[in-house]
């Protein structure tokens, strides 16, 4: 079956806070490729960062770049050797295509593949478009009872699940999550699903904590901002002491979903001896840490980069496991979807995600073409 693609309306980043809706070419379908009519795309903090700054660290947007990587859609064509999906299947897209041949890929840590092509990370175009070509081993069929909107949240949910895996959350654990944005909230949901007995979330913004009260958390902590001129580490120590007093204990594990230096420091200070402080948020490249807690109290500091595999009993891929968590109400991601925009209004969607107004948590772009 040949499929003639005439129009591929895409949200291309062409400058600072400037999106141009334009037709982009659709790559040729290889034998193992799938052509997806993208229907729903969530906006991520990284899309916002590229939108605002046209760069993240050393990754610069120098040519028009289609944004978006949290997507779900419908299969409209499959390559000659595709066996995993059929035309008309509703699917979630795992956005990072790895080389499959390097040591990282072969050993299962494919998130660390140095040759990964990740949607909306320059120079790879993202999924905020009409038609997207993607290899079948990074495409997952959605169960009938999971909507495409939920399918588009599998991406950040996978981050949460992989973070919980890295933190080694065990049944009965006390888990503290710093940052109540979508990633923090989904990390809480994943921690609950992993059997955490108590999930505590902390944030600067009262409205975020209001929401968190209704979503996968047992305790919410309002952090105040550092005093004027207060050095980060003093703030971190002061705040950690207050939190330990309030909770009566440290946490078995702390997952930082902010990237802020103060929070990274608090993550270490607030982790029980022998536990792990897990860094999900990406902030400044160099930060100061309380090394004495890392050594003397054996608090491990572990980074998280996207997701790969998790090991409940054996070892399974995070993405399809996240999909199966959506069925039977194990994890409900629908409450996180607060706003939607049609794809023609991608610019407005990104501006909204940038200013976070109106209690925005997850903003999704809907493509009805």
């Amino acid at each position: 079956m040949t499929f003639d693609v005439e129009k591929n309306l895409s949200a291309a980043l062409i400058g600072l806070e400037k999106i141009d809706m334009r037709n982009m070419p659709v790559p040729e379908l290889g034998p193992f490729d799938v052509l997806v009519n993208v229907k729903v795309t969530g906006i991520c903090g990284s899309d916002v960062h590229f939108f605002k700054h046209n760069r993240i660290l050393h990754l610069e947007v120098t040519e028009p770049l289609v944004l978006g990587h949290e997507s779900a859609g419908v299969v409209v064509a499959i390559g000659s050797q595709v066996t995993r999906v059929n035309v008309n299947d509703r699917v979630a897209i795992e956005p990072g295509v790895t080389c499959r041949t390097c040591e990282m890929c072969k050993s299962g840590q494919y998130n660390l593949c140095p040759h990964c092509k990740f949607a909306a990370t320059p120079p790879t175009h993202g999924t905020l478009c009409n038609y997207y070509v993607h290899p079948e081993d990074f495409i997952f069929k959605l169960p009938d009872d999971i909507s495409l909107e939920e399918g588009a949240l599998v991406e950040p949910l996978s981050v949460g699940m992989y973070a919980v895996e890295r933190a080694n959350v065990k049944p009965g654990d006390v888990v503290l999550v710093l940052g109540a944005g979508p990633v923090g909230l989904l990390t809480c949901a994943a921690a609950k699903a992993a059997g955490a007995a108590q999930v505590i979330i902390a944030d600067l913004i009262p409205s975020r904590l209001e929401f968190a009260k209704t979503y996968a958390t047992d305790t919410q902590l309002l952090l105040d901002r550092p005093e004027k001129g207060e050095p980060n580490f003093e703030y971190a120590r002061r705040t950690s002491t207050q939190i330990i007093q309030k909770l009566g204990q440290q946490a078995d594990t702390v997952l930082d979903c902010t990237g802020a230096e103060t929070c990274v420091q608090m993550a270490v200070l607030l982790t029980k001896s022998g536990g792990s402080a897990v860094l999900v948020g990406l902030g400044a490249t160099t930060q100061t840490l309380p090394v004495v807690d890392i050594t003397v109290r054996q608090v491990n500091v572990k980074g998280v980069f996207r997701y790969c595999n998790v090991s409940p009993v054996s070892i399974v891929r995070a993405y399809p496991r996240a999909i199966s968590m959506l069925t039977k109400g194990n994890i409900d991601v629908k409450p996180l979807i607060t706003h939607t925009y049609p794809i023609e209004k991608s610019q407005e969607a990104l501006l909204h995600a940038t200013n976070g107004s109106d209690g925005a948590i997850k903003i999704q772009v809907i493509n009805d073409q």
């Binding site: 041949t101 840590q109 079948e136 595999n309």
Partner: protein, 359 residues
């Protein structure tokens, strides 16, 4: 770089059970991501012998003539499109099983369990006992200059050892017991030592094998007896294990490289509480095990199937000298004498351990 023109590609072909011939076959054309290897050294494995004598192993049955051999190393003769990690002239060890790289097993790092695995000399995939073999470049591993191709050909059975030691979770100071002192058992001993095992005991029926083992990566050796006529296996195993424990302590890890039911049973009995038994040898498909010991003493049973993510490790081990495989190479033959080589391995004469075919 043009492919070798008009050169012979002599192959050792198993036409059917008990029928090995040398055939000249075309030099393969390279697809994307492949290299052409001028094969220089190939070890003969028990599975090659088994295919020769029985025409199949379990579900894998010979349906058409097949080239034998899978323990190889050679020199890159040609590089196909898209290959970036190798160039002509590179000396490489060949990891014989090419996985699909796309399925769940591959993506989770356990590509040895890939359902679409193409493994050299497992029907219907042709093996490496030839002059020119084409292979996926990402399954070829460049060798440092001081590691010979003969040694590199042993990375294949060494990989079984490395994978077994990992599955057994052997750590420094551990006590390891190994059943079977053939090449696989010996390389498990070497891998155990490389993992820091404090004491390695090896057991076998054949005294000459234990004589060799005395000087190769083992600290004590046990001569096993055969069971008495009519003695049920479990009784023999309990009796023999009791005997062994007069001079040996319970082990942190027991690795069975025989597949014999009695050895598998003894493996459980000789394991410490909380220890691990790793089943490397492939014997009867259904076997009786002492379940009461497995439960009440929490002795874990883990199978292994080939290996994954071991070749780079094997190259590092040979390069640093932390494992020396050279003593295991006891006999070599030229390709044209392949049938003699196979007979030699089958007869096991002259203290044969690893017999290689070299070019």
């Amino acid at each position: 770089m043009s492919p070798p023109q008009g050169e012979m590609n002599q192959c050792v072909v198993l036409r059917q059970k008990n029928d090995i011939v040398l055939e000249n076959r075309p030099i393969p054309q390279l697809a994307h991501g492949e290299v052409l290897i001028n094969v220089k050294a190939t070890g003969i494995c028990g599975s090659d012998i088994h295919y020769w004598l029985h025409g199949g192993i379990g579900d894998f049955q010979l349906k058409a003539p097949m080239v034998l051999g899978h323990e190889s190393a050679g020199i890159v003769a040609e590089v196909g499109p898209g290959v970036k990690n190798l160039k002509v002239g590179d000396r490489v060890a060949l990891e014989p099983g090419v996985a699909c790289r796309m399925c769940e097993q591959c993506k989770t790092g356990r590509y040895n369990l890939c359902p679409e695995m193409s493994f050299a000399a497992t029907p219907p995939i042709d093996g490496t006992l030839c002059n020119y073999y084409k292979h996926a470049a990402d399954f070829c591993f460049k060798l440092p200059d001081h590691v010979s191709l003969e040694e590199a050909a042993l990375i294949e059975p060494l990989s079984v050892g490395i994978h077994s030691a990992r599955r057994a979770n052997i750590k420094s100071g551990d006590r390891v017991f190994i059943f079977g002192a053939g090449p696989v058992g010996l390389l498990c001993a070497a891998a155990a030592k490389a993992a820091g095992a404090g004491h390695v005991t090896i057991a076998d029926l054949v005294p000459s094998r234990l004589e060799f083992a005395k000087n190769y990566c083992t600290d004590s050796q046990i001569l096993l007896q055969r069971s008495q006529s009519g003695e049920p296996n479990m009784e023999f195993s309990r009796r023999m294990a009791k005997e062994i424990l007069k001079t040996e302590e319970l082990a942190d890890a027991v690795i069975d490289c025989t597949g014999a039911e009695t050895c598998v049973q003894m493996s459980v009995l000789l394991s410490k509480n909380g220890g691990s038994v790793v089943l490397v040898g492939m014997g009867g498909s259904v076997q009786s095990l002492p379940i009461s010991e497995i439960s009440s003493r929490e002795v874990d049973i883990k199978g292994i199937f080939r290996y994954c993510n071991t070749y780079a490790t094997g190259v590092k081990m040979l390069a640093s000298g932390s494992i020396d495989v050279k003593p295991l190479i006891t006999h070599t033959y030229q390709l044209q004498d392949a049938v003699e080589a196979f007979k030699h391995v089958k007869e096991g004469r002259d203290g044969a351990i690893k017999v290689q075919i070299v070019a």
